[in-house]
Amino acid sequence: MDWKQLWEILSAADNVPIIAMIPLLAFYIYLAWKQARANDVLIDQLAGDAALAKTHHRKAWPFKPGWAKEVHVWPFPLRIEFLAAIIVTIILMVWSITLNAPLEEPANPNLT
């Protein structure tokens, strides 16, 4: 197998989502484990200090004074979700315009 053949396989329209998944999964696995580790460090810290365990807000990230514990669904999360929907729409439109979905010749059981 030479590089040209490898590129042809990788750039086939049907393989594009699979190729896209590799960096996406790597990034999100890294992110999830980073957050998980931060939480575990906090657990160890709080388990060793009973007084702190009662007062700490129990988050791995800083909590700003004056922040409400609960936030309204509008605009707080919905604004971000709406923005995400717009970004997804742009990605989808660009993807759909630039790359055609694969369509081969009609099914033929005699052709393997």
Partner: protein
């Protein structure tokens, strides 16, 4: 009778003389304060000062209240934790439903007439190619988004309290994958044909439920039988779409209302199942023994 009419008209005219300027004055006054008009108050139903009451009213009287609960834990909706994957999945589902309905107008599962998909892909249908591409790529994106959404499993809360939510989510994942598979067969091209060949052979090899099971006749070797698989796959595609939407709206979103997830943890995934109220960080000293 005529007298009565005359006096009545006179009274009306006189009252008009006094009432009209007053009413006109009232209208002019209202125009100076457009926020007091009936039209305005019917659209904007409450004040917009930044008070808890007004914010609550704003949320409760808007359609957004059907998307999520009125108030969320600040940490539960933190974007770096949710990644917005649930919302993106839901959005892609809507995109797929809309494009799918439009594609269904042209789709006809027939071996006799030329492939419906190539008909749509060619220039005969306005924006047909874009429509089909969007449907295809949105389906792939949805599978990716659903899989990334599954990372919530690392959340201690999912492991402890949101198990029903998790289980419904797993069913929805399976439905998404099956939708993707049945959709793959619909163009009835060589790609789809060999996909159904692999799929039915895998089903055939399933112990007890495979070729020796009650559905054995469905998983035949016969290539001709397989070529017909795209007909039922169309029915399955639509059926699963409905099941998926119902399940999503009825259960997954509903339990989402009660579901705040708080963070990930690398350790103690199952140790903490018995812990009492959901907390982002649960210490071992707070874990209660599981009831036997």
């Amino acid at each position: 009778m005529v007298e009565r009419l005359k006096t009545g008209v006179k009274e009306d005219l006189e009252s008009l003389k006094t009432d009209l300027p007053a009413k006109a004055k009232e209208q002019v006054e209202l125009l100076k304060k457009p926020t007091k008009t009936q039209v305005y108050t019917s659209i904007f139903r409450h004040k917009h000062d930044d008070t808890p009451r007004n914010r609550a009213l704003g949320v409760l009287s808007k359609p957004s209240s059907s998307i999520s609960i009125r108030q969320n834990n600040r940490d539960a909706v933190r974007y770096s934790y949710t990644w917005g994957m649930g919302g993106i999945t839901f959005y892609l589902f809507i995109v797929l439903t809309l494009t799918g309905v439009l594609l269904m107008f042209y789709y006809h599962p027939s071996k006799v007439q030329p492939s419906a998909t190539s008909f749509i892909s060619n220039t005969m249908v306005p924006f047909g190619k874009l429509l089909r591409n969007m449907h295809r790529w949105a389906a792939h994106l949805m599978v990716i988004a659903v899989e990334l959404h599954m990372f919530v499993f690392f959340s201690p809360l999912v492991q402890k309290t949101a198990r029903v939510h998790w289980n419904v989510g797993v069913i929805l994942l399976v439905l998404t994958l099956l939708l993707s598979f049945t959709g793959y067969l619909l163009p009835d091209d060589q790609l789809g044909f060999w996909a159904v060949t692999v799929g039915t052979n895998m089903a055939r090899a399933t112990p007890l439920l495979g070729h020796e099971g009650p559905f054995g006749s469905m998983f035949g070797h016969d290539a001709v039988q397989m070529t017909c698989a795209f007909r039922p796959s169309r029915r399955l595609h639509r059926g699963r779409q409905r099941a998926s939407s119902l399940l999503h709206l009825a259960l997954h979103r509903h339990s989402h209302h009660r579901f705040h997830f708080h963070g990930f943890s690398t350790s103690g995934a199952f140790v903490r199942m018995a812990a009492s109220p959901p907390r982002p960080v649960v210490l071992d000293s707070e874990v209660k023994e599981a009831k036997k």
